[in-house]
């Protein structure tokens, strides 16, 4: 790990380093000042740095590792079981210097953040879960993010479809062959861990979470019903609070970066 920059003007890019997991490189982005805060991104991963992370970086050192298969990282094809995934995430968290730090996880990354807090309680400070995967309720089934027509997907991911389109749009100079393959790979990595229902039986382990936990949910989440927040809150052993984010969809940090960052920073203060 290289040392993160000490000042963080909004326009500067994050520092990029790489950690090795099972022989595959995983990108780690670091930016900001103050105590470390880890971020495990949701569906689509981090094809680009986000305004949401800049808000956090104003007062915290944001460390955002890419999980295997998501943009900036490979190695998802080594991971066959849920245990494989959990141990890969544990290695990434440790190697990115996040052991003991506060942790934010969203969507698919939220399920793994919850696993870290449940299985390795000493390794996680405070916890924020933004619409995490991991549960499935027959009465209120989650939508299938891997069975969507192309034009329907952006509106499923975000309250404002444009926010998803902006996330995945190829940046200037992107390789026109590899970029779409990377975006598909991110979707595959999520599918590999969460196909078909998103249910990793996380419910069995929620009781092991002792970390004070803030649960954030976009009011207009089209993937995971906001009612799932109560199931997480009642399952988690530590203190929990649920906050709904207005005008936000599944990836609430793309729709409402300021509101989500404010809630995160307040919880970690």
């Amino acid at each position: 790990m290289s040392e993160p920059a000490t000042t963080a003007p909004a326009t500067t890019p994050p520092v990029t380093t790489t950690v090795d997991v099972n022989g595959h490189p995983c990108r780690v982005w670091t930016k900001g000042k103050g105590p470390k805060l880890g971020f495990l991104a949701g569906l689509g991963g981090l094809p680009r740095w986000l305004p949401f992370l800049d808000r956090l970086a104003e007062s915290r050192t944001v460390v955002a590792p890419s999980l295997p298969g998501y943009p900036g990282a490979t190695g998802h094809s080594e991971l066959d079981t849920h245990l494989d995934w959990v141990l890969a995430v544990r290695q990434i968290v440790d190697k990115a210097g996040l052991a003991g730090a506060d942790l934010v996880g969203a969507s698919v990354g939220g399920a793994f953040a919850a696993e870290m807090a449940a299985i390795f309680p000493g390794n996680v400070g405070k916890l924020v879960l933004i619409a995490p995967f991991g549960l499935f309720d027959d009465k209120e089934p989650a939508a299938d993010p891997w069975a969507q027509r192309k034009d329907a997907l952006p509106g499923l991911m975000c309250a404002e479809a444009a926010n998803w389109n902006e996330l995945v749009a190829p940046p200037d100079g992107a390789n026109s062959v590899e970029w779409p393959i990377e975006m598909t790979r991110a979707s595959e990595a999520a599918a590999r861990a969460f196909w078909p229902l998103g249910n990793t039986r996380l419910e069995k382990r929620l009781g092991l979470i002792e970390a004070p936990t803030l649960i954030l949910w976009g009011e207009r989440d089209g993937v995971l019903p906001p009612s799932y927040a109560a199931r997480f809150a009642s399952g988690i052993n530590g203190s929990t609070r649920v906050e709904n984010i207005a005008n936000a969809g599944h990836l609430a940090y793309l729709d409402q970066p300021d509101a989500v960052a404010r809630a995160v920073l307040k919880h970690f203060a």
């Binding site: 192309k150 393959i181 979707s187 599918a191 078909p196």
Partner: protein, 422 residues
């Protein structure tokens, strides 16, 4: 060349407004559209048709596997094949095939195929498709990111189960079995029943078929014109790998409608063809591209190169976009070959030679074609077309055809009145 008679077993009574009222013929097609009492007649008609084709001398009768599918009523083709094994005597039985990753444990496939091979006296062709996204990832919930690895491992397990003489432990990445020792075992044991691989246009599949010495089958519904690039890609790859151009390395699916004249063919086959290409292929695009189903190498080829054209044509999403649904376009596009017997002869010879395909799988029943029309099509083809195309590729040896045992059991005719009297 070999002429094989293929049945998809489509549900023949989807309503006229099906496409307007229902999003998909596959995966989430509504149960209210399925009438089991009508299906009783459909199954029996379809099996009559397969048996009829066997009587008329087609080289093989073929069945395949689909799930939650309004145009394919065979979740288990093995059930149909086992019945056909008892009602036919000489025809090869082509099960095209069992999607290996869907069977747990995969030795189930080794067992059932061995049963069919034993019952039929060694007439089985064992097809091993990966399976479509709709069948495998959606209807059967398989993880698209693991599907191909599981498929390849299941293949290794099945083949070893057929060929290994002693009980063995299989220590796979996805399958672990302490005692693998299938009973029964296939008659075709030198080394095993012929293995055919239906696949899209991926270079990896072509290479694998060449390496394993399997038949590659391109089972497109879009006929010889759309299939040309794929088959050229296949043969170019064979040449690169130093393989000969033995046409029996390949299989190809083609819809045909033959009648006394082209006009009569149009009169007979327009409705069933438009039913098939309209209603039966009305598949919701959201079920076409589960992430990970298409390998990155194939995606890359699809974006980059000339082979891409083949790969693109073979991908499910682009198949769905072809979408000609009226008879003129269907015929102009080569999806269905129609005409008088001589016109069909000419086209079949062209298909076989231009694609260099020795195993032609014919769809002579499609959509809502009635049993009478199907039998007419089947008989006319057998009598007036088959004799004029059989000579093709006579110089090549088909090394991938079943080798039945010599003294096969006589199957007595079914006589219900005798059974009733006993």
């Amino acid at each position: 060349m070999k002429l094989m008679w293929f049945h998809l077993m489509p549900y023949t009574e989807l309503p006229e407004d099906f496409n307007q009222k229902h999003p998909s013929v596959w995966v989430d097609i509504h149960s209210s559209l399925f009438d089991p009492k009508r299906a009783h007649h459909m199954y029996n008609d379809f099996m009559d048709e397969l048996e009829y084709a066997a009587e008329l001398g087609y080289d093989a009768i073929c069945v395949n596997e689909h799930h939650s599918n309004g145009y394919g009523l065979m979740p288990s083709p093995n059930l149909i094949a086992s019945s056909l094994a008892r009602r036919t005597t000489d025809t090869a039985l082509c099960v095209m095939g069992n999607s290996l990753a869907l069977y747990n444990p995969p030795t189930r496939v080794a067992e059932e195929f061995a049963m069919i091979d034993c019952i039929s006296g060694g007439r089985l062709i064992a097809g091993f498709p990966v399976g479509s996204p709709m069948d495998t990832c959606y209807a059967y919930g398989q993880n698209p990111s693991l599907l191909r690895e599981r498929y390849l491992e299941a293949h290794d397990l099945v083949k070893k189960a057929w060929t290994h003489k002693d009980t063995f432990a299989f220590n796979g990445r996805y399958n672990q079995q302490r005692y693998v020792n299938i009973w029964p075992r296939p008659i075709q044991n030198d080394p095993h029943p012929p293995i055919w691989i239906p696949g899209g246009g991926s270079v990896e599949t072509w290479r694998w078929c060449a390496e394993m010495d399997y038949v590659y089958c391109y089972l497109s519904y879009y006929g010889y014109k759309a299939g040309l690039t794929t088959m050229q890609g296949f043969w170019n790859e064979m040449e690169k790998l130093g393989k000969d151009r033995n046409p029996y390395r390949a299989g190809f699916l083609q819809f045909v409608g033959v009648a006394e004249s082209r006009q009569q063919a149009l009169d007979l086959y327009t409705e069933p063809a438009e039913y098939f290409y309209g209603r039966c292929l009305h598949v919701d695009a959201r079920f076409a591209t589960p992430p990970g189903y298409t390998t990155e190498a194939t995606q890359r080829a699809g974006i980059q190169s000339m082979v891409s054209k083949a790969a693109n044509t073979a991908s499910y999403s682009s198949k769905l976009s072809l979408k000609a649904t009226n008879m003129k376009d269907i015929v102009d596009g080569g999806y269905v070959i129609i005409g008088s017997p001589d016109e069909v002869v000419e086209q079949i010879r062209h298909v076989a030679t231009s694609l260099n395909v020795g195993h032609l799988m014919l769809l002579l029943q499609y959509g809502n074609m009635s049993k009478d029309t199907t039998k007419y099509n089947t008989r006319l083809f057998a009598e007036k077309v088959m004799p004029k195309v059989k000579d093709l590729f006579g110089e090549w040896e088909d090394k991938w055809w079943p080798r039945p045992m010599a003294d096969r059991a006589a199957v007595p005719a079914f006589r219900p009145h005798v059974a009733a009297a006993e």
